[in-house]
């Protein structure tokens, strides 16, 4: 197998091959490498200056073309595979009875959906009426208060206001079939989502959609754009009534300024950074609300590395504030997985047993931790009585 050529020639030609491979990769994969560079080093990609040359830029177009071709090929494979499977299911696996049950279930689902829509409309009407009445009452009370300056009545008004807010919050996380739950987030969510999906489906008959994707956040929309993905998904599937979202550990970095393309990066922990980040959170929650979708925002837990932990403490306090300001619900996982000093802890005592909640890297969850958090999230939801689905 050894090369017949002289060793030095073979070394030289291998070196040329390696350098060629490196340069050709930098050219053809300039878009993903540029994004990777920005995300990793939080600076402008130095080779971006080459984009002024059309020859260099042609790599981008070829790469996009190749990606498109692979996407098309995999879509057509997907379709073939689905057809093959459907045929096999029809011929060999599924009985008449199955289709009858499926048809019935569909009808039932349709009925439920209609009922739910009617209920929703009724609730909205009631809420509107209540709101108008409450406003009128409030105005009246205010007037009375102003007149009487009675401390006691002021307290009562406050209490009523709080009760109304609690009521709104209680209703906010109601979910029942045929409504669907949509899960979004990074690799932490990727771990939790399968258990959420399983319990929702098997115990409550609620369908779920999980789009969580590793290495994503809100800082780098050029790499993955969550606000857009979420609004597109919700538009496509009107059955979605609740978004469970968990983001953060990929975000504590300087990020590109959306206002000035190719300009200086916004520095983490500056007011400018905070403003942009808050806008993205608010955008997601407001767009959800416009489509009648509630948002349950899961905070990042404590992290083992103290630097990341400090960054998460700062970031989560911003997230919690903005989420609650927008009327959505925030779950503080830091408090659910407390360490000795309310920071990071690998394990917690669960049913009297010391249970490891985190994986070795000090960021992600162990399987036990994923299940535990999934249960904690379920406990926040207002679910119908469990059904025993198969």
């Amino acid at each position: 197998m050894a090369s017949p050529r002289t060793p030095s020639l073979s070394t030289l030609s291998t070196l040329v091959s390696l350098v060629f491979l490196a340069l050709a990769s930098l050219w053809l994969m300039q878009s993903p490498i540029g994004i990777y560079y920005q995300q990793t080093y939080h600076r402008v990609y130095p080779l971006a200056v080459l984009e002024e040359s059309e020859i260099w830029k042609s790599g981008q177009q070829i790469w996009a073309g190749l990606n498109g071709a692979i996407d098309d090929a995999s879509k057509s494979l997907d379709a073939d595979s689905v057809k093959l499977t459907d045929d096999a299911n029809q011929k060999f696996v599924l009985t008449e009875d199955f289709y009858r049950r499926e048809h019935q279930a569909k009808l039932e689902e349709e009925n439920q959906r209609r009922a739910a829509a009617e209920l929703l409309a009724r609730q909205k009407q009631e809420a509107d009426t209540n709101r108008l009445a409450a406003e009128a009452r409030q105005r009246q009370e205010q007037a009375e208060q102003e007149a009487a300056q009675d401390a006691r009545s002021r307290a009562l008004a406050l209490e009523a206001q709080q009760r109304a807010e609690e009521q709104r919050r209680a209703n906010y996380l109601i979910i029942a079939p045929p409504s669907k739950v949509f899960m979004a987030g990074d690799s932490l969510m990727q771990g939790i989502a399968p258990y959420l999906l399983r319990t929702l489906k098997t115990q409550y008959g609620i369908e779920g959609i999980d789009l969580s994707k590793q290495s994503t956040g809100l800082s780098y929309p050029s790499s993955f754009n969550w606000p857009e993905t979420i609004s597109r998904t919700i538009l496509k599937d009107p059955g979605i009534r609740l978004l469970v979202i968990m983001l953060g550990p990929n975000d504590p970095w300087d990020m590109p300024d959306p206002a000035i393309k190719g300009g200086k990066f916004l520095r983490f922990k500056t007011p400018e950074w905070e403003t942009v980040y808050r806008q993205r959170i608010a955008g997601i929650i407001q767009s959800n609300a416009a489509h009648g979708v509630s948002t349950l925002w899961i905070g990042a837990p404590g992290m083992k590395a103290s630097k990341l932990d400090g960054q998460m403490i700062w970031l989560m306090q911003i997230v919690q504030d903005e989420v609650e300001k927008q009327g959505a619900v925030f779950v503080d996982t830091r408090k659910l997985l407390p360490g000795d000093n309310v920071g990071y802890s690998d394990s917690i005592i669960l049913d009297g047993k010391n249970t490891k909640m985190r994986s070795g890297d000090g960021i992600h969850f162990s399987v036990a931790g994923q299940k535990y958090l999934a249960q904690q999230i379920l406990d926040k939801l207002h679910l119908p009585p469990p059904v025993s689905a198969q």
């Binding site: 197998m1 050894a2 090369s3 060793p7 073979s10 070394t11 030609s13 291998t14 070196l15 040329v16 091959s17 390696l18 350098v19 060629f20 491979l21 490196a22 050709a24 990769s25 930098l26 053809l28 994969m29 993903p32 990777y36 190749l66 990606n67 692979i70 494979l77 073939d80 595979s81 689905v82 093959l84 499977t85 096999a88 299911n89 696996v93 599924l94 009985t95 199955f98 399968p194 258990y195 999906l197 399983r198 489906k201 098997t202 590793q214 290495s215 590395a305 360490g339 000795d340 920071g343 990071y344 802890s345 690998d346 010391n354 070795g360 000090g362 399987v367 036990a368 299940k371 198969q390």
Partner: protein, 502 residues
């Protein structure tokens, strides 16, 4: 370690140039390898991982020096036992002590000692693999396989233990030769001769090496990742919702995923080593074609199974102390090998014991079959069923692979309850559940791959031979095209490494 990263990919040609500039001086090349390894270990691991390997190396260095300076056999043995004992304690501490960190900190706190033990007890990168190499090195020095003039200098020893290619996930590259541990050309490839050489090194089979690297990337980056996300993970997370065939495909798929992941990484480092003129032992030789478990362990993670054989099984007596004792030795060796695969907990030891039990059953079968007069007369002792002709051999391979898959299901699960769920769904979900969209094509592809496997396992050699027919200038372009295809097909993101946790 980030061998599959953009930074490493761009940095490697620079290191390659520097390394070959010193072609006439292998001793300087060794220093470069050591420096690069320490830098990478510090960068991708941590300062602590770096300190651990340095302290470990210094200790092994001093112990072997003391051992070889001792005049009496008893003293030499005492040094050996000290060295091996320390290495094993060190490994056991980092692997299993994390579980006791919380209770231990509590105990200290109760005594009024408020010591912060947070974040301290995580397995340092590479510790497992250099511990194995270190024990082999100590034993070789004790046995006299490595004498005083051939002992490695501190810097070379550091490079031997911390080599960036092998430190994360092997292959365990031993200093001295071992049976069955050979390079891609089936030649012995122990480390000592390669480090000690004063003959200039040369690049070994560069086109083949590049093809091997490409195959490794395709296996690890594309196939393993695709199987995980399409066939394995969703089904294992929620088995009751899937058809029996989906479960079957997922069980097969997990073993295949593990194989692609681990053997792909091994291919990658063996290929890179060839580009640096170094020959590393081949770690996988088509394990999923094994016709029995004994054969499987001769082909799967070979550098570990030979290590267990030489350093646990044989010192306990191997097969020299009678039939029953042999089986006990086997069970202990496999149980320990299993326990090494995991952290604190029973499931990995159970996995090892299951394999041990399989091997014991195989031995009992051989012994019973030896009672058949005609069979004994043929002079062969083993492989009775596989020797009955092609159908019997295919059946033996199938049964062996199924047993391997059955046992690997223990790896991704949390408790035995989940195994029950998976197997109960496998048996019960035959009727009136839709088969998942990818299951049938995947099962067909697996069957085809398996049939073509005897040819496919030589894919890097075939590709290199085919490339030789093209003009030299065109070859890099073709290799680049293959690389682009792998990147396009691979699920996005840099893959994590399943075996690095072990």
């Amino acid at each position: 370690m980030g061998l599959i990263s953009i930074e490493f990919g761009l940095g490697f040609p620079i290191f390659f140039l520097l390394y070959w500039v010193f072609r006439p001086r292998p001793d300087i090349q060794n220093i470069l390898l050591t420096l690069a390894s320490l830098l990478l270990l510090g960068y991708y691991g941590s300062g602590r991982a770096l300190a651990c390997v340095v302290i470990f190396t210094v200790l092994v260095y001093l112990l072997t020096k003391a051992m070889q300076a001792s005049p009496s056999a008893r003293a030499r043995k005492a040094w050996l036992v000290t060295g091996v004992g320390l290495a094993v304690l060190n490994l056991a501490f980092w692997k299993y002590a994390e579980h006791w960190r919380g209770p231990f900190a509590e105990l200290l706190a109760q005594r009024g000692l408020d010591v912060d033990l947070q974040n301290q007890w995580l397995l340092p990168l590479g510790l497992s693999y250099y511990t194995f190499q270190g024990i082999s090195y100590l034993v070789a020095c004790y046995r006299g396989d490595i004498d005083v003039p051939r002992r490695l200098s501190l810097v070379d020893l550091l490079g031997h233990f911390g080599l960036f290619l092998t430190v994360t996930a092997g292959p365990i590259h031993r200093a001295t030769p071992a049976k069955h541990l050979t390079d891609y050309n089936d030649a012995p490839c122990s480390a000592l001769d390669q480090i000690k050489t004063r003959e200039p090194r040369h690049i070994i089979a560069p086109t083949f090496a590049l093809c091997l690297i490409l195959t490794g990337l395709a296996k690890k980056w594309w196939l393993s990742g695709w199987l995980a996300s399409h066939v394995v993970t969703p089904v294992f997370a929620n088995p009751s919702q899937y058809h029996s065939l989906d479960i079957f495909a997922a069980i097969q798929g997990f073993t295949l995923q593990l194989f692609f992941d681990f053997s792909g990484y091994s291919d990658l480092v063996v290929g890179m080593a060839l580009l640096l003129g170094l020959r590393l032992p081949v770690n996988f030789r088509a394990p999923l074609l094994a016709h029995n478990l004994r054969e499987f362990w001769n082909r799967w993670h070979i550098s570990l199974s030979t290590w267990i054989r030489d350093h646990i099984y044989l010192p306990m007596g191997g097969s020299r102390k009678g039939f029953v004792r042999t089986q006990i030795n086997l069970l202990v060796a496999m149980g320990l090998s299993g326990a090494w695969h995991g952290g604190y907990g029973w499931k990995f030891a159970l996995w090892g014991l299951l394999h041990g039990a399989g091997l014991v059953l195989l031995n009992i079968g051989d012994r019973l079959l030896a009672l058949i007069p005609g069979w004994r007369g043929s002079g062969r002792k083993r492989d009775f069923i596989a020797s009955l002709g092609l159908p019997a051999r295919v059946l033996s391979v199938f049964v062996t692979v199924q047993f391997v898959c059955f046992c690997f299901v223990l790896f991704p699960i949390q408790d035995l309850n989940e195994v029950t769920q998976i197997y109960s769904a496998l048996v019960h979900n035959f009727h009136d559940i839709r088969i998942g969209p990818w299951t049938l094509p995947v099962l067909m592809a697996m069957l085809l791959l398996w049939l073509a496997y005897p040819k496919l396992r030589r894919l890097p050699e075939t590709c290199a031979a085919a490339l030789a027919h093209f003009p030299a200038l065109l070859r890099p372009a073709l290799i680049f095209a293959g690389f682009v295809l792998v990147v396009l097909l691979a699920p996005s993101g840099i893959p994590g490494f399943m075996y690095a946790n072990f």
